[in-house]
Symmetry: D2
Subunit: 355 residues, 4 copies
């Protein structure tokens, strides 16, 4: 990255950008509280960094060693000063990061308008902040229900409208997963946050596509991905100029033999690790990681105690009735208990974690 | 699946198909050597199987218990009789499955026309059957080289033409990876086999897209996927009517601490397992799984000894010069030694494996 | 297990025990608050359960399906009534299980008397309950320091005396790891809790040996073990009549490629799972699982929030000076902060977790 | 290690050994074809290597960077000259390493004299070289059959005598697993090779105990261990002066979700890797790794093709009748087919692998 002097002129900045383009890369301009920093997008290996160091307005040239560069704390700190404050992503009057835990809740799969509105009302009352609902369901078998948006565009659009309307009705921003490239434009018209599911974390063409939208993105870690890979793929979104990225840990593939007590292994140490490595907020999905409603309370509390910025939880007014993933779905009443406990835990650990 | 009587009429078959559609599913019609079998595509849970059993021309209704149904040996056997012969995929005069090991070789990344033609000539001489070459490179970092097709459509098309022309020049069918949905139509115009890379195994929208093309598909197992998942996702391709699927094992995520001696853990037992579970050919990629050129000979021999139908190997006339993955790339001379050894091993194990 | 009637006589019980021995098994007699339950130790496959059902004093014969039987909640509940209270292990006036989190702290390796006493004093002041210290160090290389007890019996006994004396001086029960069978008798003379390290979890001869001692045992989960295996091996201790077993999760082998940000993956969902499956207390070791002192606070809080009964933490007055594992060792001051936060979190989650 | 000059005197060597002891370490004297090399056993961190370089008779002082030093190819090469020949372990007229594949076969568990003799005769006829049989069975549940040696010393000794006698009768060296430290002395009186099972790989006290016996040791890789750990623990045996170590890969913990098609993941790339890293022979156990008799042929062939020096296979004249692990046990007839195929494959790959 090229760290510009405080008094660097716009012309200085433009000159650096032009020079970066000469070498076939894109420039990422990050105007911080203290100074402007210009990151590189693309293959750095042939960039003559020394030449940049002597350009007018350039204070210092620093090579970021991690493969994730644009979301790294190092990059954020260069622009924002030593404090290196974490990013807060604002959606209406909801602020993700640096504040109280944000709770995203809702049905695993949107089934119909009535179901969605009933759940939206219930989670709002329980204290949740954002409505989640799956329309394009990624499923491990073509012989399973693929979500109401899985069949045709018209049904998908209908369901997206339900989401938008339920959000408006109850004052909840809404988030849904885009499973394929074809879904991005359509979903972006109706929802506030575009979610990339675990199975698509490595889908760099899809990441680039959502990166081009002017919407926050919720990126789930792939269940076979190390943390370094997770963050490297988040940089595909950032490389398109979109740094409103909410990271989400949702469990990694289980190791070891015998009975599976949980669907995945929830890697909670990823929370403090990712907060040190990046300036982005990180949330936890206790529903998919455990696959068991009786563990949601414990793992939600643990997540917040580990420093997570929020939770994504599957809620249904009647879990037994849910078409998909009823086994891991809780009731609005249970959600309310979790939110209360998490708020208290958050207030306790807040000062300690990074002091 | 609905197993039809030998003397079932076309009208009987059409009637069953119509009835399947009534329940919101698609029918997969498989005309075998012995009889026609009709598979179901979609959510079977609400299908009244008993009603089908008494329809004219229906011999028997069988529920396939595995989540992968259309590629299962059980399904293949129903149509082809007890022998349950494995499928042979024919591409020109190359036959994948049930015969001598098919060797796909070529550069990790296509760099330019000259490089590609030189390598094509060399691998042909070494005895390889199919030319591979990466044009749209999936990379773990946006800050790495993304392949000559990674930047713009024009360059991609240029490189695809090189592939087609090199294939014609040296009598080699060609295969390339399609990384995003936008690549499918374009690549299908120029290459003989469409490859889905490991990172996209879970990308069901991409799988459906290649399934609609009238081309064989090479599907790599995701490095975090169990075998059941791998086969279930292959069914997304088959569900579009395309059963010319070549499966490829390329290593799974390493377990355990300390130094990584190989990039991934090559799961060779997957070969006989998959041959029992499905009627599809399965090949091995020793290059990406080990990440070490000094292990390619051993693991290629081991793969063929385990019963693999072929290999996919990265070859460059000068591995040190390769832009991507030179560490795991071998020379044409080394390839020739491998092909010779593998042919002999194949002739030894052939009768034993499934006798 | 044979559930006896409330009014079963001693003679009824003895008759059942004799009959169990006739079939080559051992009997585990568990006298609960409500009734006596007799478990089986050994190969049940040839036991004629029906014969037992009609013996005098026998209320019911129940086959426990899990491979871990003697520590299962099902077994505990049969004796203790429906409430199925968890076990509390009492060591002096320390009570592990069902109460406030118990903190075991101390140096990774005991180095000398002065070091040990200084740390003991400091952790006592910080609020810890039990002193830990490694004397027989399991190491992954024969070319590393093996602990002061690693060389000869005399040094080992000397170090064990330091442990005992430090414990007395500061009112702290003490725990140390026994690495080989030869250490058990010796260590049992001096310490209050015998620890089995992760690497020895599968060492059934060592488990049987500590099971015969009349001392609580702290059993760490192997880093390659599933939960079912972990609990099954704990049954080797219980089978010797010793059910004062403290289970400890300390991280499982990492999955995935690239940089290791933590040494192991801490599986916190194991806490509520194990509390449902058994009646034993479970604690967490945030030191070995993360290998990073900057993560100890977060993961300790998360562990207690998940419902853990305690923590085992490496503490040194000067972490930089520690011979072994300084990177993951915290100061007494940091320990005090953790204990304070954990107590508060515990009081918050207590009612919620199992309500 | 201290590489001595060719003309170093015995006195030079003794002087170096004394100096090593002064620093609290043990010396490992390796007299090779070309020169004597003296290795260090213990914590090298405080050894003043420079002082040794100027001692009489010392040619060169080299620090081996791997944690496994005494079994490293680097150490072997220093003594044996540039060729760095691999070690051959001789047991009677059986030679393990550098020759045709050695087949160890026999029942999972020794059941009685007749069973053992019948199997011994059958495997001899099939072409096997060494008789295996489990007497002290490591089991994951205390509620399972623990082997005929599991109950008391007298039965164990009886079974060991059967092993010795069956070996003599049919001209087969014999190998059995020692599960606990108490078994070592007893078993060493009767068998030719002492086996350390997978679960005990990390049991360094047991490793040291077998290292002190003048018998070859067969060390199985733990299913949760990386290769570096595996080799590091083998050094615990070598450190006692015993370098007749046969390494054995037997599968690592499976990764990924869903149905387990094999019990473990057989890591065949470990074969060429370990042959490069050490001078020791490495064999494969296809029985425990797959857990399926229908995969033994394929995986045996693959193992030999990968360069393995031998196989360990469970055989029973009537697999259905076997008390333990019948599912993975083959018949003598199947063994014969495997041996024939493996010999041919071996002759094919021999020149290629390390040329």
């Amino acid at each position: 990255m090229m760290i510009m002097k405080r008094d660097a002129t716009d012309e200085d900045i433009k000159r650096v950008i032009r020079e970066i383009k000469v070498h076939g890369l894109k420039a990422d301009v990050s105007r911080g509280d203290f100074r402007t920093v210009i990151g590189l997008v693309g293959d750095e290996s042939k960039v003559p960094f020394d030449n940049f160091a002597i350009m007018p307005g350039v204070k210092e040239v620093v090579k970021i060693e991690t493969p994730y560069k644009l979301i790294s704390r190092e990059y954020g700190r260069a622009a924002d000063g030593l404090s290196g404050a974490s990013k807060t992503i604002d959606i209406g009057n909801i602020h993700i990061g640096n504040g109280e835990p944000i709770i995203m809740a809702g049905p695993c799969a949107v089934e119909n308008k009535k179901q969605l509105f009933m759940i939206a009302e219930a989670i709002k009352k329980a204290g949740a902040h954002i409505l989640r609902g799956g329309i394009f369901k990624p499923r491990s078998s073509v012989h399973s229900f693929q979500g109401v948006g899985g069949s045709d565009r018209k049904s998908a659009e209908q369901a997206l409208k339900w989401m938008r309307d339920a959000g408006k009705e109850y004052g909840l921003p809404v988030v849904t997963e885009v499973r394929g490239e074809d879904h991005v434009d359509l979903a972006a018209e109706y929802v506030d946050i575009l979610q990339i599911g675990s199975r698509n974390m490595y889908n760099q063409d899809l990441l680039a596509k959502v990166g081009k939208k002017n919407k926050p993105v919720l990126l789930k870690r792939h269940f076979g991905a190390g943390i370094e890979e997770f963050l490297s793929f988040a940089d595909y979104i950032a490389a398109e100029g979109n740094k409103d990225i909410i990271l989400c840990e949702r469990g990694i593939v289980p190791v070891g033999k015998g009975k599976e007590y949980t669907r995945y292994t929830l890697d909670l140490a990823a929370v403090p690790v990712i907060k040190k490595e990046t300036y982005l907020p990180i949330i936890i999905d206790p529903s998919h990681s455990t696959g068991r409603r009786d563990l949601i309370f414990s793992m939600s509390c643990a997540a917040i105690a580990a420093g997570a910025d929020g939770l994504m939880i599957e809620v249904h007014y009647n879990p037994q009735e849910a078409i998909v993933d009823g086994r891991q779905t809780i009731t609005p009443g249970e959600l309310q208990d979790i939110i209360k406990a998490c708020r208290k835990i958050h207030s306790l650990v807040k000062p300690g974690v990074y002091a």
